[in-house]
Symmetry: C2
DNA sequence: ACCGCAATCCAAAGCGCTTTGGATAGATGT
DNA sequence: ACATCTATCCAAAGCGCTTTGGATTGCGGT
């Protein structure tokens, strides 16, 4: 069912039918009602490609998934962020498009998406320190939003981020207040911007307390369960093991917990644990009492907000850049307690 | 940069340029080389909407994410399935599109996607028993593939599924062989087809062993960590608690493990556990020795295969339907052991 | 020298929609 | 009664591409 078929059927011109359906004023209200009724009856839906060609908009927003050639790691927060975003997109009439690109061609992927006219804007996820993609998108002068920020990039750009530094600063202080002195950090990959900020917060808190950071207690890698387990196991076997561990992800925290159990220790008594909790829908941090003491910030909500900000940007490309910094809340669960009196 | 601009620049007609770039034979090879060089140099990329309009294809494949209004549960396997699929799509020149729909309008969402000409095919995920969407898509005579199957739907359709029944049959037999008699099943939502098949396998094994199923030991809900924890806790508090637990998801298995620990029991000695492992990239089941004994089947690979099958279907819409049944492997880890001699 | 054929190229139509620039007719104003 | 609006509708162009149906040229064959 095309516009022309519908208009023939109604004895009207395509022009009028188009206007009737798109809410233009130059059409009689009774005619409009007739048109709408017929459109509904026959299930007419304008072809989005034709519409896009005519209007110059695609009403699609793009996300590029990097398929790190080796690891093929799929970020576990991906699903929740997307779920938040897609909801907002749908409400505003946008569709969401994914493309996959390996690390070397990721810039090419963004360029292709735009120059083909496939999308009206993109979301940039998982920014690294000195993220190159930001300047690429900036130069293309294309609407985009960054989920996270990038230290070292001076250009103005829209972003939404959690206050990683302050939340890890606070979490570390919390542990220090409990008397812990040997606090480990199991962090994400070091070149990721969020990981660097979290480390900064951690280091700042240690510095305030006059504690020298110990490289042995600072680990970083992709945040899988197995990684958390492995690093914890290794660190607990040190001559002078940590009494508290700070972890950048709930997933890894589960591995940490497993290692603590295996070592015959008790989490919250022998070893305190604080994790960053993205509030994933399938991995709730307990129901009444949180399992882990955690710095919590919903990544789904971040997805929603990011989508809204991007849509705003698409509407007014020349508006001043906007940013949004979310504060994580510190929820206290049963995984933390006073430092054990070992000596 | 449009086709016309490029052709003007080259002193050729749009026809010839189009043909040169699309590999048609009626163009001189030296001309073709010239055109390709110019296209590369100026970064020309055909507008995909215009191309789609002209060819009648969108080169996009659609996925609909149901946002169950209440739970807003995002399936944790989602990310990996998508990662597998999008890789295949990209290789074949397809983009991937998401739409969100609440449970009531999900059928509408599929219809809209096609009638707007937004996609060339769709993937149907998470089929329920008597899945209504299958007949809807069938009637629309539209290319689609189901990830999973639907008991009660007689129509022929393409699907790829894990052999849920046989894998849970085998897992249950494995536990029975270890001497377990009170085996619990922590399953997914009952109306999901996979959950029903897994239960069938479980029940079949019990029946073979002459054991009457006990409703008290069979639970079903959305497979979160907290759910696994809660049900295990409840069951372990029974007068006659299970000695083994079968779980439909690694995520929930983590909660199960937590409950076992909290009860002061040891997994693999006091309580045996087998989980279904989708081989998620961020939740590997251990590295050398698996943590959980598990029925394993990579959902990422399923995504890849599904994508390939769908692309085949799009190419030849009238070919006979194809199906693919993957067998899960039973990997034996440290979470299972002989039934404790309690009495 | 003439015909047929292959190799190259191009003009123009068409995909389904929006939008510009009228046309038409009845209503209004003086 | 005549010019002027206003409300309503339509024809046609255009978005950027593919594709049909020729044109044109040069070559071998007779």
């Amino acid at each position: 069912m095309t516009l022309k078929e519908l208009s023939d059927m109604l004895g009207l011109s395509p022009t009028t039918v188009s206007r009737a359906l798109n809410g233009y004023p130059e059409v009689n209200e009774t005619t409009r009602a007739r048109v709408q009724a017929a459109a509904a009856k026959h299930g007419y839906r304008p072809n989005s490609r034709a519409k896009g060609l005519a209007t110059g908009k695609s009403m699609v927003i793009g996300h590029v998934i990097p398929s790190s050639s080796q690891h093929e790691m799929v970020n576990p927060i991906f699903g929740d962020f997307v779920a938040g975003a897609v909801k907002t997109y749908t409400e505003h009439g946008y569709d969401m498009m994914f493309t996959n690109a390996d690390d070397t061609s990721i810039e090419e992927a963004y360029r292709s998406l735009f120059q083909r006219g496939a999308v009206d804007g993109v979301v940039l996820q998982g920014p690294k320190v000195n993220e190159h993609r930001i300047s690429v998108l900036s130069k293309m002068s294309v609407p985009f939003i960054v989920h996270g920020r990038s230290t070292g990039v001076d250009l103005p750009y829209d972003w939404i981020d959690v206050n990683n530094k302050s939340s890890f600063l606070r979490a570390t202080q919390f542990l220090l207040d409990l008397g812990h002195r040997r606090i480990a950090l199991i962090n994400g990959l070091e070149d990721m911007d969020f990981a660097q900020r979290r480390r900064d917060g951690y280091l700042a808190a240690l510095a305030q307390a006059g504690i020298a950071p110990e490289p042995n207690l600072m680990r970083s890698a992709e945040m899988t369960e197995v990684y958390g387990h492995h690093e914890t196991r290794t660190m607990l076997a040190l001559d002078d093991p940590p009494t508290a561990i700070l972890i950048s992800s709930m997933i890894s925290a589960i591995g940490v917990r497993r290692a603590i159990d295996e070592a015959g220790l008790q989490m919250g008594r022998d070893v305190s644990v604080i994790a960053h909790d993205d509030d994933l829908s399938y991995l709730k941090n307990g129901q009444d009492v949180p399992i882990f003491t955690a710095t919590r910030s919903s990544v789904r909500k971040a997805g929603e907000i990011a989508a809204n900000m991007l849509i705003e940007r698409i509407k007014s490309p020349d508006a001043p850049t906007k940013t949004r910094l979310l504060e994580a809340e510190l929820v206290v669960g049963r995984s933390t307690g006073p430092a054990p009196n070992r000596y």
